[in-house]
Symmetry: C4
Subunit: 124 residues, 4 copies
Protein backbone atom coordinates (compact mmCIF):
# COMPACT_ATOMS: atom_id res chain seq x y z
CA UNK A 1 0.00 0.00 0.00
CA UNK A 2 1.25 3.49 -0.83
CA UNK A 3 1.88 5.81 2.09
CA UNK A 4 -1.34 7.61 3.04
CA UNK A 5 -1.58 11.19 4.13
CA UNK A 6 0.36 14.43 4.23
CA UNK A 7 3.62 15.76 5.60
CA UNK A 8 2.19 18.78 7.44
CA UNK A 9 -0.82 18.89 9.73
CA UNK A 10 -2.26 21.64 11.94
CA UNK A 11 -4.43 21.49 15.07
CA UNK A 12 -5.69 24.91 16.21
CA UNK A 13 -7.38 23.59 19.37
CA UNK A 14 -5.23 22.65 22.30
CA UNK A 15 -6.07 22.84 26.00
CA UNK A 16 -5.10 20.24 28.56
CA UNK A 17 -7.42 20.68 31.54
CA UNK A 18 -5.45 21.37 34.69
CA UNK A 19 -7.53 19.07 36.85
CA UNK A 20 -8.81 15.51 36.76
CA UNK A 21 -11.15 13.67 39.09
CA UNK A 22 -9.12 10.53 38.35
CA UNK A 23 -5.38 10.84 37.84
CA UNK A 24 -4.70 7.33 36.61
CA UNK A 25 -2.97 7.06 33.24
CA UNK A 26 -6.24 5.94 31.68
CA UNK A 27 -8.42 8.75 32.98
CA UNK A 28 -6.20 11.75 33.61
CA UNK A 29 -7.27 14.71 31.46
CA UNK A 30 -5.15 14.57 28.33
CA UNK A 31 -4.86 15.47 24.68
CA UNK A 32 -3.36 13.24 22.05
CA UNK A 33 -2.20 13.41 18.47
CA UNK A 34 -2.80 10.01 16.94
CA UNK A 35 -0.22 9.47 14.20
CA UNK A 36 -0.57 6.72 11.60
CA UNK A 37 2.44 5.86 9.47
CA UNK A 38 1.41 3.41 6.75
CA UNK A 39 4.68 3.88 4.86
CA UNK A 40 7.60 1.48 4.89
CA UNK A 41 9.95 4.18 6.23
CA UNK A 42 10.34 5.60 9.71
CA UNK A 43 8.58 8.94 10.14
CA UNK A 44 10.74 11.64 11.67
CA UNK A 45 8.22 13.98 13.23
CA UNK A 46 8.69 17.53 14.46
CA UNK A 47 5.97 19.22 16.52
CA UNK A 48 5.81 22.98 17.05
CA UNK A 49 3.47 24.48 19.64
CA UNK A 50 1.84 27.90 19.24
CA UNK A 51 0.52 30.04 22.05
CA UNK A 52 -1.63 33.14 22.49
CA UNK A 53 1.00 35.43 23.88
CA UNK A 54 4.49 34.09 23.29
CA UNK A 55 6.70 32.71 20.56
CA UNK A 56 6.28 29.17 19.25
CA UNK A 57 8.05 26.39 21.15
CA UNK A 58 9.79 23.46 19.50
CA UNK A 59 10.52 21.40 17.71
CA UNK A 60 9.58 18.41 19.80
CA UNK A 61 11.00 15.40 17.98
CA UNK A 62 9.55 11.92 17.86
CA UNK A 63 9.63 8.99 15.49
CA UNK A 64 6.93 6.63 14.30
CA UNK A 65 8.21 3.31 12.99
CA UNK A 66 7.07 2.10 9.56
CA UNK A 67 3.57 0.62 9.54
CA UNK A 68 2.87 1.62 13.10
CA UNK A 69 0.60 4.06 14.93
CA UNK A 70 1.64 6.29 17.80
CA UNK A 71 -0.98 7.90 20.02
CA UNK A 72 1.15 10.67 21.41
CA UNK A 73 -0.08 12.47 24.50
CA UNK A 74 0.82 16.15 24.55
CA UNK A 75 1.01 15.67 28.34
CA UNK A 76 4.10 13.52 27.78
CA UNK A 77 6.12 16.09 25.82
CA UNK A 78 9.05 17.37 27.85
CA UNK A 79 11.80 18.57 25.54
CA UNK A 80 12.27 21.50 25.03
CA UNK A 81 9.61 22.08 27.75
CA UNK A 82 6.36 20.54 29.07
CA UNK A 83 3.04 21.69 27.67
CA UNK A 84 1.49 24.00 30.27
CA UNK A 85 -1.86 22.85 31.67
CA UNK A 86 -4.96 25.02 31.55
CA UNK A 87 -3.47 27.05 28.71
CA UNK A 88 -4.63 27.64 25.14
CA UNK A 89 -2.21 26.27 22.56
CA UNK A 90 -2.13 24.95 18.99
CA UNK A 91 0.20 22.62 17.16
CA UNK A 92 1.79 21.98 13.79
CA UNK A 93 3.09 18.51 13.03
CA UNK A 94 5.65 17.95 10.27
CA UNK A 95 6.75 14.52 9.12
CA UNK A 96 9.48 13.22 6.82
CA UNK A 97 6.96 10.87 5.19
CA UNK A 98 3.20 11.11 4.66
CA UNK A 99 1.21 10.35 7.80
CA UNK A 100 -2.37 10.82 8.98
CA UNK A 101 -3.10 12.76 12.18
CA UNK A 102 -6.18 12.77 14.39
CA UNK A 103 -6.63 14.89 17.53
CA UNK A 104 -8.44 13.79 20.69
CA UNK A 105 -9.09 15.16 24.18
CA UNK A 106 -10.25 13.18 27.18
CA UNK A 107 -11.53 15.60 29.79
CA UNK A 108 -12.02 14.26 33.31
CA UNK A 109 -12.76 17.44 35.18
CA UNK A 110 -16.39 16.31 35.63
CA UNK A 111 -17.89 13.22 37.32
CA UNK A 112 -18.18 11.66 33.84
CA UNK A 113 -15.50 12.00 31.19
CA UNK A 114 -16.06 14.05 28.04
CA UNK A 115 -14.40 13.36 24.69
CA UNK A 116 -13.75 15.32 21.54
CA UNK A 117 -11.97 14.29 18.37
CA UNK A 118 -11.36 15.57 14.87
CA UNK A 119 -9.06 14.83 12.02
CA UNK A 120 -6.22 17.37 12.01
CA UNK A 121 -6.02 19.80 9.07
CA UNK A 122 -3.72 18.53 6.29
CA UNK A 123 -1.36 20.74 4.34
CA UNK A 124 1.53 19.94 2.07
CA UNK B 1 7.38 27.53 7.47
CA UNK B 2 4.88 28.71 4.86
CA UNK B 3 1.55 29.96 6.13
CA UNK B 4 -0.83 27.01 6.58
CA UNK B 5 -4.51 27.09 5.80
CA UNK B 6 -7.15 29.09 4.01
CA UNK B 7 -8.59 32.59 4.05
CA UNK B 8 -12.27 31.62 4.34
CA UNK B 9 -13.81 29.11 6.74
CA UNK B 10 -17.41 28.19 7.52
CA UNK B 11 -19.02 26.67 10.61
CA UNK B 12 -22.70 25.73 10.12
CA UNK B 13 -23.25 24.66 13.74
CA UNK B 14 -23.57 27.30 16.38
CA UNK B 15 -25.57 27.19 19.60
CA UNK B 16 -24.42 28.56 22.91
CA UNK B 17 -26.49 26.86 25.61
CA UNK B 18 -28.37 29.41 27.67
CA UNK B 19 -27.63 27.74 30.97
CA UNK B 20 -24.62 26.36 32.83
CA UNK B 21 -24.40 24.47 36.10
CA UNK B 22 -21.07 26.23 36.68
CA UNK B 23 -20.67 29.82 35.52
CA UNK B 24 -16.94 30.15 36.08
CA UNK B 25 -14.91 31.20 33.04
CA UNK B 26 -13.57 27.66 32.76
CA UNK B 27 -16.89 25.85 32.84
CA UNK B 28 -19.54 28.22 31.56
CA UNK B 29 -21.22 26.83 28.43
CA UNK B 30 -19.38 28.31 25.49
CA UNK B 31 -18.39 27.91 21.87
CA UNK B 32 -15.02 28.84 20.47
CA UNK B 33 -13.35 29.29 17.13
CA UNK B 34 -9.70 28.32 17.57
CA UNK B 35 -7.64 30.31 15.08
CA UNK B 36 -4.05 29.40 14.23
CA UNK B 37 -1.94 31.92 12.36
CA UNK B 38 1.37 30.32 11.38
CA UNK B 39 2.24 33.18 9.02
CA UNK B 40 4.66 36.00 9.77
CA UNK B 41 1.94 38.63 9.24
CA UNK B 42 -0.91 39.71 11.48
CA UNK B 43 -4.22 38.16 10.48
CA UNK B 44 -7.06 40.64 10.15
CA UNK B 45 -10.14 38.52 10.75
CA UNK B 46 -13.75 39.30 9.99
CA UNK B 47 -16.54 37.10 11.35
CA UNK B 48 -20.09 37.12 10.00
CA UNK B 49 -22.90 35.38 11.85
CA UNK B 50 -25.86 33.78 10.09
CA UNK B 51 -29.23 33.08 11.67
CA UNK B 52 -32.39 31.13 10.87
CA UNK B 53 -34.76 34.05 10.55
CA UNK B 54 -32.89 37.33 10.16
CA UNK B 55 -30.13 38.94 8.13
CA UNK B 56 -26.48 38.18 8.80
CA UNK B 57 -24.74 40.21 11.51
CA UNK B 58 -21.20 41.51 11.27
CA UNK B 59 -18.46 41.82 10.60
CA UNK B 60 -16.96 41.23 14.00
CA UNK B 61 -13.31 42.22 13.69
CA UNK B 62 -10.39 40.67 15.51
CA UNK B 63 -6.69 40.20 14.90
CA UNK B 64 -4.39 37.26 15.43
CA UNK B 65 -0.71 38.19 15.74
CA UNK B 66 1.82 36.39 13.56
CA UNK B 67 2.75 32.91 14.81
CA UNK B 68 0.08 32.92 17.49
CA UNK B 69 -3.18 31.12 18.22
CA UNK B 70 -6.37 32.75 19.42
CA UNK B 71 -9.13 30.64 20.96
CA UNK B 72 -11.97 33.08 20.48
CA UNK B 73 -15.14 32.50 22.44
CA UNK B 74 -18.27 33.49 20.55
CA UNK B 75 -19.62 34.39 24.00
CA UNK B 76 -17.12 37.27 24.10
CA UNK B 77 -18.20 38.94 20.85
CA UNK B 78 -19.95 42.24 21.53
CA UNK B 79 -19.56 44.53 18.51
CA UNK B 80 -21.85 44.96 16.57
CA UNK B 81 -23.93 42.89 19.06
CA UNK B 82 -23.60 39.92 21.44
CA UNK B 83 -24.32 36.41 20.18
CA UNK B 84 -27.75 35.45 21.52
CA UNK B 85 -27.82 32.41 23.81
CA UNK B 86 -29.99 29.38 23.12
CA UNK B 87 -30.24 30.38 19.45
CA UNK B 88 -29.19 28.55 16.28
CA UNK B 89 -26.50 30.39 14.37
CA UNK B 90 -23.65 29.75 11.93
CA UNK B 91 -20.47 31.63 11.14
CA UNK B 92 -18.13 32.54 8.31
CA UNK B 93 -14.59 33.56 9.16
CA UNK B 94 -12.50 35.54 6.65
CA UNK B 95 -8.82 36.31 7.19
CA UNK B 96 -6.29 38.51 5.41
CA UNK B 97 -3.74 35.68 5.55
CA UNK B 98 -4.14 31.89 5.55
CA UNK B 99 -5.19 30.52 8.93
CA UNK B 100 -6.59 27.23 10.26
CA UNK B 101 -9.88 27.18 12.18
CA UNK B 102 -11.31 24.59 14.55
CA UNK B 103 -14.69 24.80 16.27
CA UNK B 104 -15.45 23.60 19.81
CA UNK B 105 -18.35 23.66 22.24
CA UNK B 106 -18.20 23.05 25.98
CA UNK B 107 -21.70 22.36 27.22
CA UNK B 108 -22.26 22.52 30.98
CA UNK B 109 -26.01 22.23 31.14
CA UNK B 110 -25.65 18.73 32.64
CA UNK B 111 -23.95 17.50 35.84
CA UNK B 112 -20.96 16.51 33.66
CA UNK B 113 -19.69 18.62 30.79
CA UNK B 114 -20.04 17.54 27.17
CA UNK B 115 -17.66 18.50 24.39
CA UNK B 116 -17.79 18.59 20.63
CA UNK B 117 -15.18 19.70 18.12
CA UNK B 118 -14.58 19.66 14.41
CA UNK B 119 -12.30 21.35 11.95
CA UNK B 120 -14.18 24.21 10.26
CA UNK B 121 -14.88 23.90 6.52
CA UNK B 122 -12.19 25.60 4.41
CA UNK B 123 -12.93 27.61 1.28
CA UNK B 124 -10.83 29.99 -0.75
CA UNK C 1 -19.34 36.95 -0.69
CA UNK C 2 -19.41 34.04 -3.12
CA UNK C 3 -21.48 31.03 -2.11
CA UNK C 4 -19.40 28.70 0.07
CA UNK C 5 -19.52 24.95 -0.08
CA UNK C 6 -20.71 22.07 -2.17
CA UNK C 7 -23.96 20.75 -3.64
CA UNK C 8 -23.67 17.17 -2.33
CA UNK C 9 -22.79 16.05 1.19
CA UNK C 10 -22.78 12.64 2.85
CA UNK C 11 -23.10 11.62 6.51
CA UNK C 12 -22.46 7.89 7.11
CA UNK C 13 -23.32 8.02 10.84
CA UNK C 14 -26.91 8.28 11.86
CA UNK C 15 -28.59 6.92 14.99
CA UNK C 16 -31.23 8.73 16.99
CA UNK C 17 -31.26 7.18 20.45
CA UNK C 18 -34.69 5.81 21.25
CA UNK C 19 -34.72 7.11 24.80
CA UNK C 20 -34.06 10.39 26.62
CA UNK C 21 -33.94 11.18 30.30
CA UNK C 22 -35.37 14.60 29.44
CA UNK C 23 -37.90 14.86 26.62
CA UNK C 24 -38.02 18.64 26.36
CA UNK C 25 -37.25 20.08 22.91
CA UNK C 26 -33.88 21.25 24.20
CA UNK C 27 -32.71 17.97 25.66
CA UNK C 28 -34.49 15.17 23.82
CA UNK C 29 -31.98 12.88 22.07
CA UNK C 30 -31.66 14.17 18.53
CA UNK C 31 -29.47 14.43 15.46
CA UNK C 32 -29.22 17.50 13.30
CA UNK C 33 -27.83 18.50 9.94
CA UNK C 34 -26.77 22.14 10.24
CA UNK C 35 -27.09 23.73 6.81
CA UNK C 36 -25.48 27.08 5.97
CA UNK C 37 -26.56 28.86 2.80
CA UNK C 38 -24.31 31.88 2.23
CA UNK C 39 -25.58 32.36 -1.32
CA UNK C 40 -28.12 34.94 -2.42
CA UNK C 41 -30.48 32.24 -3.74
CA UNK C 42 -32.82 29.90 -1.91
CA UNK C 43 -31.36 26.41 -1.49
CA UNK C 44 -33.70 23.63 -2.57
CA UNK C 45 -32.49 20.67 -0.54
CA UNK C 46 -33.23 16.98 -1.02
CA UNK C 47 -32.27 14.47 1.67
CA UNK C 48 -32.05 10.73 1.04
CA UNK C 49 -31.73 8.28 3.93
CA UNK C 50 -29.85 4.99 3.65
CA UNK C 51 -30.37 1.98 5.88
CA UNK C 52 -28.67 -1.34 6.62
CA UNK C 53 -31.34 -3.63 5.30
CA UNK C 54 -33.79 -1.80 3.06
CA UNK C 55 -33.90 0.56 0.12
CA UNK C 56 -33.15 4.26 0.49
CA UNK C 57 -35.99 6.53 1.55
CA UNK C 58 -36.60 9.99 0.18
CA UNK C 59 -36.27 12.55 -0.99
CA UNK C 60 -37.17 14.66 1.98
CA UNK C 61 -37.45 18.22 0.67
CA UNK C 62 -36.65 21.38 2.54
CA UNK C 63 -35.55 24.90 1.67
CA UNK C 64 -32.97 27.17 3.22
CA UNK C 65 -33.50 30.87 2.46
CA UNK C 66 -30.59 32.91 1.07
CA UNK C 67 -28.04 33.95 3.71
CA UNK C 68 -29.64 31.85 6.41
CA UNK C 69 -28.77 28.75 8.43
CA UNK C 70 -31.15 25.89 9.15
CA UNK C 71 -30.35 23.42 11.93
CA UNK C 72 -32.57 20.61 10.76
CA UNK C 73 -33.38 17.85 13.22
CA UNK C 74 -33.69 14.45 11.61
CA UNK C 75 -36.28 13.80 14.33
CA UNK C 76 -38.55 16.35 12.63
CA UNK C 77 -38.58 14.71 9.19
CA UNK C 78 -42.00 13.21 8.42
CA UNK C 79 -42.51 13.07 4.66
CA UNK C 80 -42.23 10.47 3.15
CA UNK C 81 -41.83 8.84 6.59
CA UNK C 82 -40.33 9.55 10.04
CA UNK C 83 -36.76 8.51 10.79
CA UNK C 84 -36.97 5.37 12.94
CA UNK C 85 -35.40 5.68 16.40
CA UNK C 86 -32.69 3.34 17.64
CA UNK C 87 -31.84 2.42 14.04
CA UNK C 88 -28.62 2.79 12.04
CA UNK C 89 -29.00 5.10 9.07
CA UNK C 90 -26.95 7.42 6.86
CA UNK C 91 -27.85 10.43 4.76
CA UNK C 92 -27.02 12.21 1.53
CA UNK C 93 -27.91 15.87 1.20
CA UNK C 94 -28.22 17.49 -2.24
CA UNK C 95 -28.72 21.21 -2.72
CA UNK C 96 -29.50 23.42 -5.71
CA UNK C 97 -26.79 25.87 -4.60
CA UNK C 98 -23.55 25.39 -2.68
CA UNK C 99 -24.07 24.96 1.05
CA UNK C 100 -22.00 23.77 4.01
CA UNK C 101 -23.25 20.91 6.19
CA UNK C 102 -22.27 19.89 9.72
CA UNK C 103 -23.67 16.90 11.62
CA UNK C 104 -24.40 16.82 15.35
CA UNK C 105 -25.93 14.42 17.87
CA UNK C 106 -27.17 15.27 21.34
CA UNK C 107 -27.56 12.06 23.29
CA UNK C 108 -29.54 12.25 26.53
CA UNK C 109 -29.81 8.60 27.40
CA UNK C 110 -27.42 9.13 30.33
CA UNK C 111 -27.68 11.40 33.40
CA UNK C 112 -25.43 13.88 31.57
CA UNK C 113 -25.77 14.63 27.87
CA UNK C 114 -23.14 13.56 25.36
CA UNK C 115 -22.38 15.41 22.13
CA UNK C 116 -20.68 14.55 18.86
CA UNK C 117 -20.16 16.65 15.77
CA UNK C 118 -18.29 16.54 12.50
CA UNK C 119 -18.33 18.33 9.22
CA UNK C 120 -20.23 16.24 6.65
CA UNK C 121 -18.27 14.84 3.70
CA UNK C 122 -18.43 17.11 0.65
CA UNK C 123 -18.78 15.83 -2.90
CA UNK C 124 -19.65 17.58 -6.15
CA UNK D 1 -26.75 9.38 -8.15
CA UNK D 2 -23.05 8.79 -8.82
CA UNK D 3 -21.14 6.88 -6.17
CA UNK D 4 -19.90 9.29 -3.47
CA UNK D 5 -16.58 9.05 -1.74
CA UNK D 6 -13.19 7.39 -1.96
CA UNK D 7 -11.74 3.90 -2.08
CA UNK D 8 -9.21 4.33 0.76
CA UNK D 9 -9.81 5.84 4.19
CA UNK D 10 -7.62 6.09 7.29
CA UNK D 11 -8.50 6.44 10.98
CA UNK D 12 -5.47 7.08 13.22
CA UNK D 13 -7.45 6.95 16.48
CA UNK D 14 -8.59 3.63 17.79
CA UNK D 15 -9.07 2.57 21.40
CA UNK D 16 -11.91 0.41 22.65
CA UNK D 17 -12.20 1.00 26.39
CA UNK D 18 -11.78 -2.24 28.29
CA UNK D 19 -14.61 -1.55 30.70
CA UNK D 20 -18.25 -0.47 30.54
CA UNK D 21 -20.68 0.38 33.30
CA UNK D 22 -23.42 -1.10 31.11
CA UNK D 23 -22.59 -4.12 28.95
CA UNK D 24 -25.78 -4.19 26.90
CA UNK D 25 -25.31 -4.06 23.12
CA UNK D 26 -26.56 -0.47 23.12
CA UNK D 27 -24.26 0.86 25.81
CA UNK D 28 -21.15 -1.30 25.87
CA UNK D 29 -18.03 0.75 25.11
CA UNK D 30 -17.43 0.42 21.38
CA UNK D 31 -15.95 1.99 18.29
CA UNK D 32 -17.57 1.90 14.88
CA UNK D 33 -16.69 2.64 11.30
CA UNK D 34 -19.87 3.82 9.62
CA UNK D 35 -19.67 2.90 5.93
CA UNK D 36 -22.00 4.41 3.33
CA UNK D 37 -22.17 2.79 -0.09
CA UNK D 38 -24.28 4.97 -2.40
CA UNK D 39 -23.15 3.05 -5.48
CA UNK D 40 -25.16 0.41 -7.30
CA UNK D 41 -22.46 -2.23 -6.75
CA UNK D 42 -21.56 -4.22 -3.68
CA UNK D 43 -18.55 -2.82 -1.85
CA UNK D 44 -15.88 -5.38 -1.04
CA UNK D 45 -14.12 -3.88 1.95
CA UNK D 46 -10.78 -4.79 3.46
CA UNK D 47 -9.75 -3.40 6.85
CA UNK D 48 -6.16 -3.40 8.10
CA UNK D 49 -5.36 -2.62 11.72
CA UNK D 50 -2.14 -0.89 12.81
CA UNK D 51 -0.61 -1.06 16.26
CA UNK D 52 2.11 0.68 18.25
CA UNK D 53 4.44 -2.25 18.65
CA UNK D 54 3.63 -5.04 16.22
CA UNK D 55 2.94 -5.67 12.55
CA UNK D 56 -0.38 -4.75 10.96
CA UNK D 57 -3.20 -7.28 11.21
CA UNK D 58 -5.62 -8.08 8.40
CA UNK D 59 -7.28 -7.88 6.13
CA UNK D 60 -10.64 -8.16 7.79
CA UNK D 61 -13.15 -8.59 4.97
CA UNK D 62 -16.70 -7.36 4.90
CA UNK D 63 -19.21 -6.34 2.28
CA UNK D 64 -21.64 -3.46 2.08
CA UNK D 65 -24.56 -4.03 -0.29
CA UNK D 66 -25.34 -1.39 -2.93
CA UNK D 67 -27.21 1.65 -1.57
CA UNK D 68 -26.85 0.55 2.00
CA UNK D 69 -25.00 1.70 5.13
CA UNK D 70 -23.13 -0.57 7.53
CA UNK D 71 -22.21 0.68 11.00
CA UNK D 72 -19.46 -1.80 11.71
CA UNK D 73 -18.30 -2.18 15.29
CA UNK D 74 -14.61 -2.90 15.61
CA UNK D 75 -15.65 -4.92 18.67
CA UNK D 76 -17.31 -7.40 16.31
CA UNK D 77 -14.25 -8.14 14.16
CA UNK D 78 -12.97 -11.67 14.77
CA UNK D 79 -11.11 -12.91 11.70
CA UNK D 80 -8.11 -13.00 11.61
CA UNK D 81 -8.28 -11.98 15.31
CA UNK D 82 -10.37 -9.84 17.70
CA UNK D 83 -9.39 -6.21 18.29
CA UNK D 84 -7.71 -6.08 21.71
CA UNK D 85 -9.44 -3.87 24.29
CA UNK D 86 -7.67 -1.03 26.06
CA UNK D 87 -5.06 -0.92 23.29
CA UNK D 88 -4.06 1.87 20.89
CA UNK D 89 -4.71 0.97 17.27
CA UNK D 90 -5.44 2.62 13.93
CA UNK D 91 -7.18 1.41 10.78
CA UNK D 92 -7.10 1.66 7.02
CA UNK D 93 -10.23 0.81 5.09
CA UNK D 94 -10.06 -0.09 1.39
CA UNK D 95 -13.14 -0.58 -0.77
CA UNK D 96 -13.73 -1.86 -4.29
CA UNK D 97 -16.08 1.06 -4.96
CA UNK D 98 -16.19 4.62 -3.58
CA UNK D 99 -17.66 4.80 -0.08
CA UNK D 100 -17.79 7.36 2.73
CA UNK D 101 -16.46 6.48 6.19
CA UNK D 102 -17.14 8.09 9.56
CA UNK D 103 -15.61 6.99 12.86
CA UNK D 104 -17.38 7.01 16.23
CA UNK D 105 -16.67 5.91 19.80
CA UNK D 106 -19.21 5.40 22.55
CA UNK D 107 -17.39 5.31 25.86
CA UNK D 108 -19.31 3.99 28.86
CA UNK D 109 -16.56 3.80 31.43
CA UNK D 110 -18.16 6.71 33.33
CA UNK D 111 -21.62 7.10 34.89
CA UNK D 112 -22.65 9.02 31.75
CA UNK D 113 -21.59 8.02 28.26
CA UNK D 114 -19.16 10.08 26.22
CA UNK D 115 -19.13 10.25 22.43
CA UNK D 116 -16.65 11.26 19.78
CA UNK D 117 -16.95 11.23 16.02
CA UNK D 118 -15.08 12.45 12.97
CA UNK D 119 -15.10 11.81 9.27
CA UNK D 120 -12.27 9.41 8.40
CA UNK D 121 -9.41 10.73 6.25
CA UNK D 122 -9.96 10.04 2.53
CA UNK D 123 -7.20 8.97 0.17
CA UNK D 124 -7.29 7.56 -3.34
Amino acid sequence: MAAIGHRVWAIPEGYIPATSLDNSHEFVSHEAACLLNTSTSEADVRITLYFADRSPVGPYRITVPPQRTLHLRFNDLTDPEPVPLGTDYASVIESSVPIVVQFTRLDSRSPAIALLSTMAFPSG
